[in-house]
């Protein structure tokens, strides 16, 4: 990690010099265990057990109205096939479902484009905030506003701005002669994803900028003085000095955003409901779980999403050797 915040060695207290464990040590450890119990129980009940049940239901034929009657059906929700007498084979299950693959494609497309653009814009904003100029406080306050606005509210606000009949975006674009007729941004299949991306980038770039800014501020100022003396132009300085040094902070910000983007739900549910071009894995899972009474099928879809996200996290930690545990040793 970038900041090694290794605490003073706690062992001084916790590890007595003599091999026999002191009474103090034992009572401290016991108290610590006791203090951990509420948190562990809470997390087990709201996260561990529900996750296990979701995976369990994905192997059953459960329906929302009667969960108790669920019966084990193996991998049927994931993938199964029947060969008809005519010799034709019919495949079913999530892995053979074009709607699922469409949702996967939408999610990946959304995640890649939004994170790339947010990183670029976030870096620009962070560089601006890292410079010293009058009114810096105003910029920082201003960029916190999109971050503070609830996602549902931003979806509605932008939904109104992007409205086909009365929206201000169409009005601006018509005046600038960028378009010659009003566009139904959120309703039309060609532009729905663009609308979702615009709102997400608007809302999340500040978060990205703040994380990158924290990384930038840890770069010692004398490095820049040195490049200035050597007469290296600012663009070269950025690519050869700033970027490598800010990379650790950037990587953490990117992984956080990727994981967040892969599970996106609320923005799409509110901004472009019923648009097949924007339905993501989370949206389609919930639809099956709750709305279409295909509880088991929806569970299988959520389990797959969980596996994808877990896989990416593990891969990332392994590849990037990112020490997520911080200075814990």
């Amino acid at each position: 990690m970038t900041t090694e915040t290794s605490a003073p060695p706690i062992g001084v207290l916790a590890k007595p010099a003599q091999p026999i464990k002191s009474e103090l040590f034992v009572s401290r450890t016991r108290a610590a265990m006791l203090f951990l119990v509420p948190m562990i129980v809470a997390l087990a009940v709201v996260a561990g057990w529900p996750l296990y049940r979701t995976i369990y239901y994905s192997f059953t034929n459960a329906s929302l109205s009667d969960l108790a009657a669920a019966q084990f059906v193996g991998f049927k929700n994931y993938f199964s096939w029947i060969t008809l007498k005519s010799g034709r084979t019919i495949y079913s299950g999530v892995l053979a479902d074009p709607q699922w693959w469409n949702a996967v494609w939408n999610t990946v497309r959304f995640a890649v484009v939004s994170v790339v653009l947010e990183t670029v814009f976030g870096t620009v904003v962070a560089l601006v905030l890292n410079a010293e100029f009058r009114g810096r406080g105003i910029v920082r306050a201003a960029i916190l506003i999109p971050w503070a606005i609830p996602t549902i509210v931003s979806a509605k606000m932008w939904g109104w701005m992007l409205n086909d009949q009365f929206g201000i975006i169409n009005d601006i674009f018509l005046h600038l002669h960028l378009i010659d007729h009003k566009i139904a941004w959120t309703a039309s299949g060609d532009t729905a994803m663009i609308a979702v991306l615009v709102v997400d980038i608007w809302k999340t770039t500040p978060f990205m900028a703040l994380l990158i800014l924290a990384g930038l501020q840890m770069i010692p100022k004398d490095i820049y003085e040195a490049t200035e003396i050597d007469g290296i132009n600012p663009i070269k300085t950025f690519f050869y000095v700033t970027l490598p040094l800010v990379r650790p902070a950037l990587m953490v910000a990117v992984i956080f955003r990727v994981l967040d983007a892969l599970r996106i739900f609320d923005l799409i549910y509110v901004l472009t409901p019923n648009s097949a071009q924007t339905k993501t894995m989370s949206v389609i899972s919930r639809e099956n779980l709750i709305d279409f009474d295909k509880f088991a099928y929806g569970s299988a879809e959520s389990t797959l999403l969980f596996l994808i996200i877990a896989g990416i996290t593990i891969l990332y930690i392994w590849l990037g050797r990112v020490n997520l545990a911080g200075g814990d040793n």
């Binding site: 706690i10 203090f35 948190m39 996750l51 296990y52 606000m157 109104w160 996200i309 877990a310």
Partner: protein, 276 residues
Amino acid sequence: MLWTYTKKTAFYLLVLVIIVESVFPFYYAILTSFKSGTSLFQVNYWPTMISWDNYAAVFQNGSFPQNLLNSVVVATLTVALALLFAVTAAYALSRVRFRGRSLLLLTILSVSMFPQIAVLAGLFEVIRTFGLFNTIWGLIFSYTIFTLPFTVWVLTTFMRDLPIEIEEAAIVDGATPWVIITRVFMPLMWPALVTTGLLAFIAAWNEFLFALTFTSSNSTRTVPVAIALLSGASQFEIPWGTIMAASVIVTVPLVVLVLIFQRKIISGLTAGGVKG
């Protein structure tokens, strides 16, 4: 000389673009919320009228005041619960050495990366079993999944940096771990508690998926769900004025809070991000 001026102008132009782009959508929502009647459907860039009709409509909408109250109660209790569990857990995780500590920390971190949808089915069952479906208690209970790991994580990093000497002094004076936490650490931890509390509050206030799934009647919904489901007299008529007024009502307190505590929030965000 000319080059310096061009550079300066370009820079301030960029600054201006960032500010306008950040603030404009919210400004436009406020503008719209004060319009009424047919003027709602004329595009204006500057305020043309101030009418409180939409705000009146929001509060006459029946359940909106209740939704607002629900949101306040849910967010407040979620924060209180998360902080209570997190402070004690953070003490154990940061100050006491025991086997499996790193593994436990890693598990907590991975819980915060869970996609909410992955636990939706199981949590739905748990909430129904406990009889919490369609109550605000079900929401407070389920929100623990994202507030607790984050709070534990940030408080652990914070507590680890507190000097060891004060704790040693307290132990010499015969203080129990509970006394150490409440009397020695708590007073020192106010900044971290305020930061994590605020971030947890914002997360709970904004949450949508659980609130949408675990409540089913107007009187138990929180504000984000209420706004998402606001509909007009007919199915095809979207009450934009009312929606914008409701949006402004739920957003203004947050924006004010964030602007007052902006330094604390930024440090909290980066502690959760850069360090974690």
